[in-house]
């Protein structure tokens, strides 16, 4: 039988819902480690990224560290940390690995988001009398949101793919069918597990793509040409001249 057909048969077999390694359980474990790691990475990387983007200083250091962190092989790092921290600290070792993996994308998303803002907008904000904190929270952060969510999306995707290795150190997750299936030579199981990870990654990516669109501030979205439907554009055109009339009428 064809390998893909066997993999789907394995995936949809009723046994997948039973026992310690039921698919919903594995999915839960996978999502748990993904969410925790991205959250911790965000708490570390986003404020630092915002600081770099707002002050314009430290960018080269951030880029260098991000680049180096991306080059670290996650599997090797995870095994090394498990050896160093001991068998009783395996979840911590794995989480540290995934956090280090997520930091570069989140850091980049945070500072490029702020860097991409037109300096004149910030000058204008300053000219209207906003304090530095107000400029930061009311102007820079909302304008930097789309790129930040883009960084979040990249980080989440990488972490989802990498949490697959957590199964190697007995933490479960969607990598379990792969880790168990290879020595058993059950390749339907291995392919089934791989398909699951791929599907989860695609679904997460789609949801975050929608979030990225939604993160664009309302004013920017309205200002974009063609962002309105034709009907809304005609209605807006009809209202504007009418709005001008009462103004002229009242002055005469």
């Amino acid at each position: 039988m064809n390998v893909f057909a066997e993999a789907f048969a394995w995936l949809f077999s009723p046994e997948r819902l039973e026992g310690q390694y039921a698919l919903p359980v594995l999915l839960g474990q996978h999502l748990f480690y993904t969410v925790i790691s991205v959250l911790i990475a965000a708490v570390i990387a986003v404020p630092v990224g915002w600081l770099i983007g707002h002050t314009g200083r430290g960018r080269e250091v951030a880029v260098a560290i991000s680049g180096a962190a991306r080059a670290v092989p996650s599997f090797g790092l995870m095994v090394l940390l498990v050896l160093l921290l001991g068998v009783l600290r395996v979840p911590e070792a794995a989480t540290i690995t995934f956090v280090l993996l997520a930091i570069p994308s989140l850091l980049a998303g945070a500072y490029t988001g702020l860097e991409a803002i037109d300096r004149r907008v910030i000058d204008a904000a300053r000219a209207t009398g906003m304090t530095e904190w107000q400029i930061f929270w009311k102007v820079e952060v909302p304008l930097g949101m789309p790129l930040l969510v883009g960084g979040l999306r990249a980080a989440t995707l990488q972490v989802i793919a990498t949490v697959t290795i957590a199964a190697y150190v007995n933490l479960g997750g969607l990598g379990w069918p792969i880790i168990q299936g290879i020595p058993l030579r059950r390749f339907d199981q291995v392919l089934g597990g791989a398909i699951l990870v791929a599907v989860l990654a695609l679904v997460a990516d789609m949801l975050l793509a929608l979030a990225q669109r939604a993160a664009v501030p309302g004013g920017i979205r309205a200002a974009k040409p063609g962002s309105r439907t034709p009907r809304a554009a005609r209605r807006a055109a009809a209202i504007e001249p009418a709005a001008a009339e009462p103004a002229t009428a009242s002055t005469t």
């Binding site: 064809n2 068998v87 199964a167 150190v169 007995n170 379990w176 168990q180 020595p183 063609g226």
Partner: protein, 306 residues
């Protein structure tokens, strides 16, 4: 913003992707099957090529074979530390490697996952049937490297444990730690439940199994019977009177065309390789840090084979 051109490109791309998936689905061969190599005969040279797994214990046994054959004036070429079965079996089957120290039970599992025999003699017979044309199993040794249900001596004393069946008497449900595939093996927790009526939890501790046992994270561990830890740590393997566990004795696998040439020498080695030898050899490697050559030479001299 979809222009007509972008839509067309997307459509072509989509059709291309769908077509490749459909074509992949139509393929009937399994890309993960081991390549069948007909006619891979060795060039008729007199050199015996010996291989070994990437496992120090296996390498020591291979080195013993090598030195024993050299002592019998046979030229030997060493290809040690190759890797897993998926890596070296094709070479062994094609004749590129002539002799390999293997393990009866695990090799039987590799060729025939459905075999349900467990005693050493039954497993050896089943293996001889399962081996492909061109490979011969020489005599198997008493030495084995098989799964065990091992506990710390402290735990055994506290709960009065001698056999696997005694685990049923432990008040709190014990957890067994092992490699991930153990959960699905017929001699795994499901098999223990069926044969001995023992309820065990499972934890896929893999390479950290020994550490987890010593740290108390698991109560029972699948420590392979040749592990030097049996000498260096306070652990004991529980007895298996009903033969739950698949016996896995050391067995030399040889290409059929060289089997006769090496049989006498290698069978003499297998006859002398006793049940406790592998643990002792392992201790020399891991604790005393001697080289495989020295360990092999010492063992052959101690057993009057050199």
């Amino acid at each position: 913003m979809f222009t007509a051109r972008k839509s067309r490109l997307a459509l072509i791309g989509g059709i291309g992707l769908a077509a490749s998936l459909v074509l992949a689905g139509c393929a009937s061969s399994n890309p993960l099957d081991a390549p069948t190599d007909e006619g891979g005969e060795s060039a008729g040279s007199d050199t015996i090529v010996i291989g070994s797994q990437a496992y120090y214990s296996n390498e020591i046994i291979a080195e013993i074979y090598a030195q024993a054959l050299e002592n019998a004036d046979i030229t030997v070429e060493r290809e040690f530390n190759i890797g897993q079965r998926d890596a070296y079996m094709p070479d062994l089957e094609s004749g590129a490697i002539d002799l390999f120290p293997e393990y009866t039970g695990n090799l039987l599992e590799f060729y025939d996952d459905s075999a349900d025999v467990t005693s050493p003699e039954d497993v050896y017979t089943a293996l001889q049937d399962a081996l492909p044309e061109g490979l011969t199993a020489l005599d198997y040794a008493e030495a084995s490297d098989q799964d065990t249900y091992t506990v710390t001596k402290e735990f055994a004393e506290a709960n009065d444990l001698t056999t696997i069946a005694d685990l049923a008497n432990v008040s709190e449900k014990p957890t067994i730690g092992a490699a991930p595939e153990f959960e699905q093996r017929p001699y795994g927790p499901a098999g223990a439940k069926e044969l001995y009526g023992v309820d065990l939890g499972f934890s896929a501790t893999g390479d950290t199994t020994l550490e987890a046992l010593l740290a108390g994270e698991i109560q029972v561990a699948d420590i392979y019977s040749a592990d030097p830890a049996f000498e260096t740590e306070e652990i004991v393997a529980l007895e298996d009177p009903e033969n739950l566990i698949l016996a896995s004795n050391v067995v030399p696998i040889a290409s059929s065309d060289v089997a006769d040439e090496v049989a006498d020498v290698i069978n003499a080695v297998s006859a002398a390789l006793g049940a406790d030898d592998l643990v002792a050899l392992g201790v020399q490697s891991t604790v005393d840090e001697k080289s495989p050559e020295d360990i092999a030479k010492q063992w052959l001299e101690d057993n009057d084979l050199l």
